[in-house]
Subunit: 376 residues, 2 copies
Amino acid sequence: MKYRLYAPGPTPVPEDVLTEMAKPILHHRTPAAEKIIEEVREGLKWIFQTKEEVLILAASGTGAMEGSVTNLLSKKDHALVIDGGKFGERWWKILKAHGIEHDVIKVEWGKAVNADLVAQKLQSQDYRAVYMQASETSTGVAHPVKQIADIVKGYPNTALVVDGITAVGVVNLPMDSWGIDILVSGSQKAFQLPPGLAFAALSQKAWGMVEKSDLPKFYFNFKSEKKNILLNTTAYTPAISLVAGLRLVLQNLKKEGLENIFKRHEKMAQAVRSAAVAIGLKLYAPESPSAAVTAIYGPSGIDTGQIVKTLRIDFNMTIANGQDDAKGKIFRIGHLGYYDAMDMITVWSAIEMALTKLGYKFEKGKGVAKMMEILM
Amino acid sequence: MKYRLYAPGPTPVPEDVLTEMAKPILHHRTPAAEKIIEEVREGLKWIFQTKEEVLILAASGTGAMEGSVTNLLSKKDHALVIDGGKFGERWWKILKAHGIEHDVIKVEWGKAVNADLVAQKLQSQDYRAVYMQASETSTGVAHPVKQIADIVKGYPNTALVVDGITAVGVVNLPMDSWGIDILVSGSQKAFQLPPGLAFAALSQKAWGMVEKSDLPKFYFNFKSEKKNILLNTTAYTPAISLVAGLRLVLQNLKKEGLENIFKRHEKMAQAVRSAAVAIGLKLYAPESPSAAVTAIYGPSGIDTGQIVKTLRIDFNMTIANGQDDAKGKIFRIGHLGYYDAMDMITVWSAIEMALTKLGYKFEKGKGVAKMMEILM
């Protein structure tokens, strides 16, 4: 049976990119490799919507997140974290691991943060950085990045650090014009690649803080990476086969155009949300949904682990369960990266069949019909 | 013109492994991915010659090196570094970045460390760890790991950390029987893969120290990786396409057998060394050469950058120049990974042609003839 992957990352890799990466390996310190990196640099700036360099790290996204702490902050700094899910948690776990004092705005899972709370916190205390997610993958929530960026702009000594791992290349997140100070992402999401590359771009404000940072770091050393990327190389051996794939992905995405990329994702997200509602299911994040992943409550009495398992066994498809407290209660469908609306019809049909098998009563096909309506 | 890569890493990836990695991407939290990791775990233990788990990190080798500092040591520890080249340097640079007090045994480039010096140092001072390379890639030197392991064994509170990045799967380096406490390696060397995976295996002695370590760490957290690898997964998203390639590489290497792998590398190294001497060139590390890479002085009056460049332009081949002070003075030929003796004849013929073009006078074909002698 064909394998179909609908998780919020890793996401499918296009066939032409798979074969591009299957070409014989290049040495990274050669003019040929430097030419690839030069082209990738330009493409990354385009998709990050920034004039700054986008650093390329051989790591998964968490590596870029850790680097956004150890390179930006100093030992005595105080940070603010917006925690509305597993990845929000990760920010304060990283800060804790590095002994950085921090406050946490705990947001109920499935909800977006209230920007007013961020404004209040910033008034009450001198924070060096605010850490947040643009899209919280564990809950399918989009946080109000622009609103928060507008608030943080009022604090010249405070940086806004945004985890855009499931947002860059999915939704409009113009780093420079909104005033995001660090924006990080990862290859296995909208970048349509296997996992193994992480990205980070820093504003001039952030680079100024990097100069003063006294936290220990070595492998994730942004200053040293910046020096190297300007020479079309990296500080340590890059995951060069992924970088070669990235060049092709960025070429393909450029042909599609940023506006179309955002529209494609929004349409898929709308289709999935509407289909869920059409068959009587409840969305987990109805008020501020992410365009990257849709989280849906299972029907009462059905553990969502059973839905995930039925898709795996009957259809050789991967979707995601909830995590932690949401495990068994919600399921998550990824629609970021190399997908289009027809893929959503495929996965949704399988979900309708699985739900039927598991005993949920609804009018079969109604979700799919709703999707068609949206797509036409 | 066919591209040919003879650098000491990255090294060529076998055709079957390239296509294996070009298969559609797997989600890492699925039974299928767990099965791959389970098989890879066994294969890594085999090639590391250890009963311990070998951790799989999404990073280049330097990430595993940094983790071998931040996971093993505590703030007030004192470490000893053997520095005989660029990678020896890297150990103390990592220690310095993390504020760890350390002494350095500086070894002349091209020479192996004298184990007696290590014994003297250990007698004079209480070190928690000794950091060294098995094979120093920048100079083509093999350091006496077994001798040093025998010395360190006498110190129950001192760990021996060996960078085996260009040694594991090249020469016999039996971690358990020699008593190596941390052994690290990387995918783009003898593992015949693109860069992007780093490995680290720890002895029980090292794990005991990890329990007490108080240095900050997050992405490279060995305890957390160990917990995960026992469940056939990793703490953060693994570079799963490389891991899938690794499974096939390990299957292929097992068919070849450890003894044959070591013999193959030794034969290639011997062939290259003899060919160099046969045409009147001087070896950079004649006394204790590494089987992974051979460093050779250029003929007097010829900058080795010219040799590297001529191979690139006339033959589309990559070999390596010297680094730092050795730049321009030596050139390096990698022979670790997916190579056999016939590949060495190819690169050596190109070198003879390049040297002729650059004005070096010698009996053309004499190096190649010497290689044939060794291979027959």
